[in-house]
Symmetry: C2
Subunit: 311 residues, 2 copies
């Protein structure tokens, strides 16, 4: 720990710290778990040039790092308590970068009600590597796992699908025909995921299996199927699309593939015997293995690239 590092901790990170961190003046954080709650733990690493671009605004990078983890907490019905942060930065990420990055952290800590428990920082000659480990609280006695789906369950999602993948296409200049409002809407959906924490807490007691859609609908439904030893049939016509996505698909019908295979939507995918409110049924859990997508006529639709990755 150098003098520089102390100064950086004091200036940038101490304002983010919760009471568990004891002002970041000790070596450890101390957490008294809320009574009757279990802890959900989730970690995620993002790498400059792989998961985000060097020129991306640091505050958005910070918020995305937190939100991909918050989305996993949402899928277990948990509320966020706090997190630890491991930042490995090249020299070119100086105080300006760090200030903007921490502004993004602060914004989302406020928005979702949790705080920094502790962390570590290091230097690298390579690209920046950012890891966050989130801790959440959840009611004791069973959380919805990937492997809990049952034969005959409805397969459901929150919100709309494909927006993030279409948003990336917008940012790449691939959808020039779309009007400006639609382009902005879709790009925002890509830039800043909305973790469905409220929906997750409401749905958790009502569903058999739940996870967030981060790799793409077909791939993520496949994870539930595999862990539950079941198959799923998804109806293409049932996929919930935003008005902007609907217009993009109307202009070029093949773009519906982005709702099947595009990642980063961060909606919740769940299965339930009784349909919960506020979700869209997109299919059923059936005997067998794997995920099949069918059109209105019941004919199988080829999925172009399950688990389509952004870079």
């Amino acid at each position: 720990v150098s003098a520089d590092e102390f100064e950086r901790i004091e200036r940038f990170f101490a304002p983010l710290a919760g009471p568990e961190a004891a002002g970041l003046a000790d070596d450890v954080a101390l957490l008294a778990p809320p009574a009757g709650r279990e802890l959900v733990i989730k970690t995620d690493t993002i790498v400059e040039g792989v998961h985000y671009l060097p020129d991306d605004p640091p505050d958005l990078v910070a918020r995305k790092l937190l939100r991909v983890n918050l989305s996993d907490l949402a899928a277990k019905g948990a509320e966020p308590l706090g997190y630890v942060l491991d930042l490995t930065l090249p020299d070119r990420c100086g105080d300006d970068w760090l200030e903007a990055f921490c502004r993004g952290l602060a914004e989302d800590q406020r928005a979702f009600g949790f705080s920094l428990f502790g962390g570590d920082s290091a230097r690298t000659t390579g690209p920046a590597v950012l890891s966050a480990t989130l801790l959440g609280g959840v009611a004791s006695g069973g959380i919805p796992r990937r492997g809990g789906a049952r034969l005959g369950d409805y397969l459901c999602v929150t919100g709309t699908l494909g927006d993030a993948a279409l948003g990336l296409a917008v940012l790449r200049g691939e959808l020039p025909g779309l009007d400006a409002a639609d382009r902005t809407y879709l790009a925002d959906r890509y830039r800043l995921p909305q973790p469905r924490l409220g929906e997750g807490r409401r749905l958790a007691p009502l569903v058999h299996a739940m996870m967030d859609v981060s790799d793409g609908l077909v791939q993520d439904a496949g994870h539930i199927c595999k862990a539950s030893s079941l198959a799923a049939v998804i109806e293409l016509e049932a996929l919930p699309l935003s008005p902007a996505a609907r217009r993009a698909v109307k202009a070029e019908p093949d773009r519906i593939q982005l709702a099947l295979g595009g990642g980063d939507d961060y909606e919740l995918l769940c299965t339930a015997a009784t349909l919960p409110e506020g979700v869209t049924v997109i299919g059923r859990c059936v005997a067998g293995s794997g995920v099949t997508v069918v059109d209105r006529a019941g004919k199988e639709v080829l999925v172009a690239s399950p688990g389509y990755r952004h870079f």
Copy 2:
């Protein structure tokens, strides 16, 4: 998550996973905190070429990563429960590297009784970045902090000081006069820290402040002083040295500086009003600020490089 990554998780990480990880088949780990215990959380990042060398045996790198965190848990009287791991590796760290790395993790999980909760992995074009976040359990109601030292407290340490810094000198070929057994002993002390978990649990209820000696005695005593708004006087003659260190210092008296400023010993430094068993008194907490080292005659000894770092 690519097919390769699933295979790696299955092959290398699933065998390390505890029941909290649910076979690493879900997105999160679920921990029911032991009744009446609080959680201690500690994270640490090490970077190839900064904290270890590219040619270091991967199993030793893994064990050192765990042990520097275990040492912080020890200093709070906590026992380890489990950890999450974030591995960002260059392509050159392939399956052979990972297999050896995981062998080291498994060895220390067995030695210290804890398991893997979860993790994430990513690729980098730069040096490897390895982060571990450990969770420990500790009796509710107060752990020894840095800031708990009181006026008049004894300043005490477990074990012996300076061995790790001398061990690094051995590995650099700087102590050719020492006999082979001493060289091996010192090098081992540098290569593989021994987290003082048992001593920490025993000492925690008996001390006012405690931390591990990782940056070097004088710097770490300074942390306790600063957090406690006190000063400390350390007696050079009182420093506990191993027989090997004693011989190295006898051959060249200046090497005593490595017991004052050399890092990586991972012994426990504590303060107490009543002397606990099994520690060595090295000084006292007095009014003022800062750390002074004095010789037998009470004359101040200049400390060459507080917080001496290894690379």
